[in-house]
Amino acid sequence: MVTIDFTLNGKRVTVDVNDNETLLFTLREKLSIKSVKEGCSIGECGTCTVLIDDETHYSCLTLSSKVTGRDVKTVEYLGNIIELHPLQEAFISCGAVQCGYCTPGMLLSAYSLLLKNKDPQDEEIKRAISGNLCRCTGYIQIIEAIRYAAGILKQNC
């Protein structure tokens, strides 16, 4: 057992974790962040995606001790039910959400892309979400949503 300290969605958190504990488990079971999902558990499906220092990581393969002192973001950082992030609005308006299981991870991969690339081409969007699987086959709508959100975000700044 070790006590770790990190920034979660902009707030400092301190939590006791087991040596063999994954970030996925810590977030879900100890910090009540249920948007981070367990899918394949072997780093292929992307539904456990979180941002560590604004880069996408699979939390199912990340030991919690690795985020000591780091900045961790989950979809809760983007927006809430009262004020959604433009990406979340775009996912809704473009029909990019079906069962919703992949959505938090998809949004984080999209958010990480838009931080680095304000005006991504479709190929760049596809590459950015290539580590996130959607089994409702909503890829076209997801790509459209990200492209649409990029346009809105560009207008806003």
Binding site: N20, G43, T49, T56, T62, L63, A128, S130, G131, N132
Partner: protein
């Protein structure tokens, strides 16, 4: 759930080496994209030593002979590095194709080498560049050619008290070479290479001057067809020579591996791939 273990995070190379030597049943953890997956399937150790926080094992730096890459440099960093793009284009391309963005943000070049998969994407480009590895232990350090380091599929010559710290590339740039990396996979992302080729080729006035090829996923370990490289040296860049040399490579692969069911597919695909690479 992962099997139980105790984990230590090393902040310096010395600390990492002390843990590796001092602790019982210990395994080094870097990005975790291979190790944690295997541990989920039951592979167990008493101790893990996380080396991702060791600053000197990260990044790219120039030295007298060429440049060196820290073992915990991520695939993402390598594929985005302008320096690697300029000086080891095949490596840059290969790192950009590994896994997915998440895997590339986590996984490291050192981890890819130690995992020593026949399909590892970083190995063929590093073979083309005659990469040399530094392995450190409490007792000192040794250097070994990557070609000798991998001794069997998923097996290396690394001893239990050793830590892979650097990958050295002696010559900075293959000036006037055309260099690349191509792979064949079942799908674009999150795929294991079924076939891969890295190359660096120098031609001059219609003659092959220096041809370096490394082929992955065909033999137990990625390999350089040295006999053919030698055969091509000074030879004319003509269709007949190209066809002849590719035939020699394919025969060499069959000699090493024996006949395999997958060869019905792999051999014709590799033939076209190699011929096109040589034609340029």
């Amino acid at each position: 759930m992962l099997p139980e273990f105790l984990s230590r995070t090393a902040k310096t190379k010395e600390e990492a080496l002390s843990y590796i030597t001092g602790l019982e049943d210990v395994k080094v953890l870097a990005g975790g994209t291979d190790l944690i997956v295997r541990m989920r399937k039951g592979e167990a150790y008493k101790h893990l030593v996380d080396v991702m926080e060791v600053p000197e094992m990260k990044g790219i730096s120039c030295d007298e002979e060429g440049f060196k890459i820290g073992a915990t440099t991520t695939h993402n960093r390598l594929s985005n590095s302008q320096f690697i793009k300029m000086n080891a284009r095949s490596l840059s391309l290969a790192c950009g194709l590994i896994g997915s963005p998440q895997i590339r943000n986590m996984g490291t070049i050192g981890g890819n080498l130690i995992n020593a998969s026949p399909a590892a994407d970083t190995i063929p480009p590093l073979l083309v560049h005659d990469a040399v590895l530094t392995l450190e232990s409490k007792g000192g350090e040794r250097k070994e050619e990557l070609e000798d380091f991998i001794i069997a599929p998923y097996k290396t010559s690394m001893k239990s008290d050793e830590l892979l710290t650097f990958i050295h590339i002696k010559r900075k740039r293959f000036k006037d070479y055309r260099e690349g990396y191509k792979r064949v996979t079942k799908r674009a992302a999150l795929a294991i290479s079924r076939l891969s080729v890295a190359w660096a080729i120098h031609e001059y006035e219609g003659l092959f001057h220096d041809v370096r090829l490394a082929i992955g996923s065909c033999t137990p370990m990625p390999f350089r067809p040295r006999i053919v490289e030698e055969f091509l040296k000074g030879n004319k860049k003509e269709e007949q020579i190209i066809i002849e040399s590719v035939k020699m490579i394919l025969e060499e692969i069959k000699r090493i591996t024996g006949d395999r069911p997958s060869f019905i597919y792999k051999i014709p695909v590799l033939k076209d791939l190699l011929e096109n690479i040589l034609r340029g």
